[in-house]
């Protein structure tokens, strides 16, 4: 048979049609699908003996107790610890997914030294010995040249033994530059210092309060110790406690509150003073407290009565005067009212004016250091190490002012001003930063104006990360000395944010270290020993565990057994002794705060003509935006109106969207004076017209594929705005332009 073109084509087409119509192909596909279904790639988890280990979670500053279920030597589930003073059995979703961090692909498995360019991701594995000697040599050289002050540390906290070991190391080495990650705690510390004369942390007795006036604090969005706040919120459901939420966006907290009062963003301080105006005018304040235990009330009263009448406050805040008056009355008449501030999760300090104004409200109703009120909680004094012997070069180094300007003439009261570091490094106005350690922090992600932060990092010749995970900062370091993951190490967990009484948690190894990591505490001790001299003398311990055990003393045994050490109860101090100001009383108008000056709203960046809208961040408990990012389980819980594929949604009022011709799901371009981003539009009636809201916690470039490359990091779009009194970052938003993409 001759094969011509026609028969060849007939054969091809006929064959194709025949194969398509024949069930054989489909049958085979189906069979192979079923057959391969049983291939051994579905894991069968090994069974074994079940056991439970109590520990503490340190993924945020919440300090929850955890109970980890184990099967032989594997940790299989994290649960909240029952009877724990913070969380009593409950746990947040980040804490619940901690095993994905422990066993996850983002762990740094061994000390790494950079080979390629910074951030290129090319590393060389090195031994711990080499790693430690590399750091000690670099630090030794600096010290010899008399430049010990050019070394610095960015630390997630300044409490607890590990941050204190860093502090001790830096002091005896001769640098004043330990910088703590900033948060609303900075503003509160300063407020308590200025108004009450104490060095203390704020402690809120939410459980006993019955009227919460929240100036934008995300009570159930991750503010304070998140699980404790969830529990407090449920307590109010049972006891009839009221929550009034003041913020421009209907957050979860606002939705669950008894009353949501939308306010023009950034005008919270004016509202607080407006409420004070009504309380004073109608004599609803606690006269006993004011007359006997306060100072400067008359001046402050005049100022508030003159400047903050309900009508003028109504114009500024956009809340009508009858609402302000009613709010003031119900606040003052409640039996246990409590006013709090710190927007969202309280990750930015905000203006000092705002914090002092809100705190003054608490003083007006006399709930300072009182049941259901706000306490000045001194950190328990359990870390008592021998005095450091300083040599001359250390003393000289410590004499140099801090690079971030904290404690300087300009900002004498602030203790940490990390937000000022990038600018100080980039301008080179003081002195350069030649070595930087980063521990318990991820500044390249969490600090605002990412570009400037990156630029500053590029100017530091030696960056060492102590991170357990390959985060943004570790990616851009020269050396990574990975810490054990939090479930592999002993560490004391200091009092959780906002607790009215001190509780020390004990984090302890649930599993053996999975990789070639080392406890950061041990690394500091090794480093000190390598440096020799006075530095080695200041670290007499052989290991961190020895140091911790010795430090905790008789508490150790109890903490190992129970998992935490709880101090007896709130010490109800008498007002006579609780204020350590010059007058010995509560200062309504400490001169330094400038609260008697005309209130000036924080000038956020951008002009109105080029940037007609306002961009504000919002926090969600489902988006971790601190030291770690969302593990895969938590990413799974993120709504598809927040993130779709790799696109993040902005929230926009339908009215604003209409003015810009934007529809649901449409792509848009956001531009601020700091940066640009492509986003999708989500129409949401819960946001004030004229505002644009973007979630924090997305836009990671590090961590794993489950998180990286999705959405936008809010910090790329905003820069810090210095508070004129504290120097802390007072920015609450930035002006923005929105266009169709």
């Amino acid at each position: 048979m001759k094969i011509d073109r026609r028969s060849f084509l007939s054969f091809l087409i006929g064959g194709a049609a025949g194969t398509t119509l024949s069930p054989l192909t489909w049958k085979l596909m189906d069979d192979s699908a079923i057959w391969t279904q049983m291939w051994p790639w579905t894991p069968v988890p090994e069974d074994g003996e079940a056991s439970y280990v109590n520990s503490a979670c340190s993924l945020c500053s919440g300090g929850c107790g955890i109970t980890v279920r184990k099967i032989d030597d594997r940790a299989v589930k994290i649960e909240g610890m029952k009877e724990h003073p913070v969380n009593n059995g409950g746990l947040c979703l980040l804490g619940l997914s901690g095993l994905q961090l422990l066993y996850g692909p983002t762990r740094v498995r061994t000390p790494l030294k950079r080979v390629g360019k910074r951030g290129q991701g090319r590393w060389e594995k090195i031994s711990w010995k080499d790693a430690v000697s590399e750091v000690s040599e670099t630090l030794g050289e600096l010290r010899e040249k008399g430049q010990s002050h050019t070394a610095g540390i960015i630390s997630g906290s300044d409490r607890g033994t590990v941050p204190r070991l860093f502090d001790r190391f830096l002091t005896v080495y001769g640098s004043p530059n330990l910088m703590r990650t900033s948060s609303i705690i900075d503003s509160y510390e300063l407020t308590l210092h200025l108004m009450q004369g104490v060095q203390a942390l704020p402690g809120f007795d939410f459980e006993n309060a019955d009227f919460i006036l929240s100036f934008g604090s995300g009570i159930i969005d991750g503010w304070g110790s998140p699980v404790r706040m969830f529990r407090a919120n449920s307590t109010w459901c049972n006891t009839g406690g009221k929550v009034i939420q003041i913020e421009p966006r209907l957050s979860n907290t606002a939705a669950k509150s008894d009353k949501w009062i939308p306010i023009n963003p950034g005008t919270e301080a004016s509202l607080a003073l407006g409420i004070a105006h009504v309380i004073i005018k109608e004599s609803l304040y606690d006269a006993g407290f004011i007359n006997y235990y306060s100072e400067g009330f008359e001046d402050w009263k005049r100022f508030v009565l003159d400047e903050y009448g309900p009508d003028s406050v109504a114009t500024v805040t956009g809340i009508d005067s009858t609402t302000i008056i009613a709010l003031a009355r119900s606040f003052a008449r409640a039996s246990k009212p409590l006013a709090i501030c710190g927007r969202g999760q309280g990750t930015t300090p905000g203006s000092l004016n705002e914090c002092t104004a809100v705190h003054a409200l608490n003083a007006l109703v006399g709930n300072i250091n009182k049941k259901g009120g706000i306490f000045a909680v001194a950190e328990p004094d359990y870390i008592n190490w021998p005095e450091i012997e300083m040599d001359d070069s250390a003393a000289a180094g410590m004499q140099k002012g801090r690079l971030d300007g904290a404690g300087s003439k300009k900002y004498p009261f602030s203790r940490h001003l990390l937000n000022r570091l990038p600018q100080a490094v980039n301008s080179g106005e003081k002195y350069p930063l030649k070595a930087l350690f980063v521990a318990g922090a991820n500044p390249l992600y969490t600090m605002s104006d990412s570009k400037a932060v990156k630029k500053a990092f590029d100017k530091v010749p030696f960056v060492v990360s102590f991170s357990s995970y390959m985060d943004e900062t570790a990616q851009n370091a020269d050396l990574i000395l990975p810490n054990h993951a939090y479930l592999e190490r002993y560490e004391d967990i200091p009092t959780p944010a906002g607790m009215p009484k001190p509780v020390i948690g004990l984090s302890r190894p649930v599993v053996e270290p999975q990789f070639n990591t080392k406890h950061t505490g041990d690394v500091i001790i090794l480093l000190a020993k390598a440096m020799g001299g006075n530095i080695a003398d200041a670290f007499a311990w052989n290991s961190y565990d020895e140091c911790l055990k010795e430090t905790l003393g008789y508490k150790w045994r109890v903490m190992v057994e129970k998992g935490f050490w709880s101090y007896p109860d709130i010490f109800v101090q008498t007002h006579e002794k609780s204020f350590d100001t010059v007058s010995g009383k509560f200062e309504f108008a400490p001169k330094e705060t400038g609260s008697l000056k005309q209130f000036k709203p924080v000038n956020i960046e951008g002009d109105k003509t080029n940037y007609p809208l306002l961009l504000i961040p919002y926090d969600s408990i489902r988006l971790a935006n601190g030291v770690v990012g969302d593990p895969p389980f938590v990413m799974k819980s993120v709504d598809d109106t927040v993130l779709k594929g790799t696109d993040v949604f902005i929230e926009l009022n339908p009215k604003t969207a209409g003015e810009h011709g934007l529809r649901e799901g449409q792509l848009a371009m956001l531009s601020t004076p700091v940066g640009k981003a492509r986003v999708k539009v989500h129409l949401f009636d819960g946001i004030m017209p004229g505002l644009v809201a973007l979630p924090r916690g997305l836009g990671h470039t590090a961590f794993d594929d489950y998180l990286a490359g999705k959405g936008i990091n809010f910090n790329e779009l905003i820069g810090p705005v210095e508070d004129s009194v504290s120097g802390l970052d007072a920015a609450w938003g930035i002006r923005v332009k929105l266009a169709k993409a």
Partner: protein
Amino acid sequence: MKHKKAKKYGMVIDLDKCTGCGSCMVACMAENNVPFRKDESDKLLSITWMRIYKLTNGKPFPNIDICYLPRPCMHCEGQHEGHSPCVTVCPAIATDYSIETGIVSQIYTRCFGCRYCMASCPYHARYFNWWDPVWPDGMEKYLSPNVSPRMRGVVEKCSFCFHRYQMAKEKAFMEGRRELKEDEYQTACTQACPAGAITFGDLNNPNHAVHRMVKPDLKHHGRPTNPNAFRLLERLGTNPKVYYLSSREWVRRAGDNYLEKEVKLKKTVHHG
């Protein structure tokens, strides 16, 4: 006699307390070896035995209100005990209703993936494994031996943490008891909820918190008699064993998914 002893495990979720934090979702994923993929933003494909829905009252600023609604499997009792929508359609008896506990099971090795049950479930509580579950290198270490990971091609859903029931039962038997105490068997989501919004227990037992909270009318398929309590899509007659509490009327109405003008129509419809 046997029936009198039967349990009817159910759940009450207090929507006034629920903060939508997502702890229940993640506690469930961690407890039940639920797999995850790189992109989980397509919620039709994302396996979440417990899923939180965001409800709004649909009003404009500033009168808008939000409520979160966690949705596990409803473990429907059906018109007659065991006539759950999914159980009645399953050709493989891969999903079954336990008269003893009231729990709707899912037997992965029997399931051949026809997904009839998914079509019949009015609550979207069932999920299909379109892909093999893959854990990144090392992460398989945290998998729990108490729940078998599912293979591609089968349907899965909330089991009310049935393995916890089995473990509690075994423990009780070892101690010579036949009855479980209320706190001995609790689901992972109930245990994790930081707000204490979820309560779990035996609806048949008047001493259990769930019974006291909703006061189910056991003669009428457990219809709640607490005026703040409701069940999702009550009118379908699926008789779920998951109850919700809310003091907000719009939430209760949203739970039953009324359509516009439906109130009038409802009077003429006869319920069996």
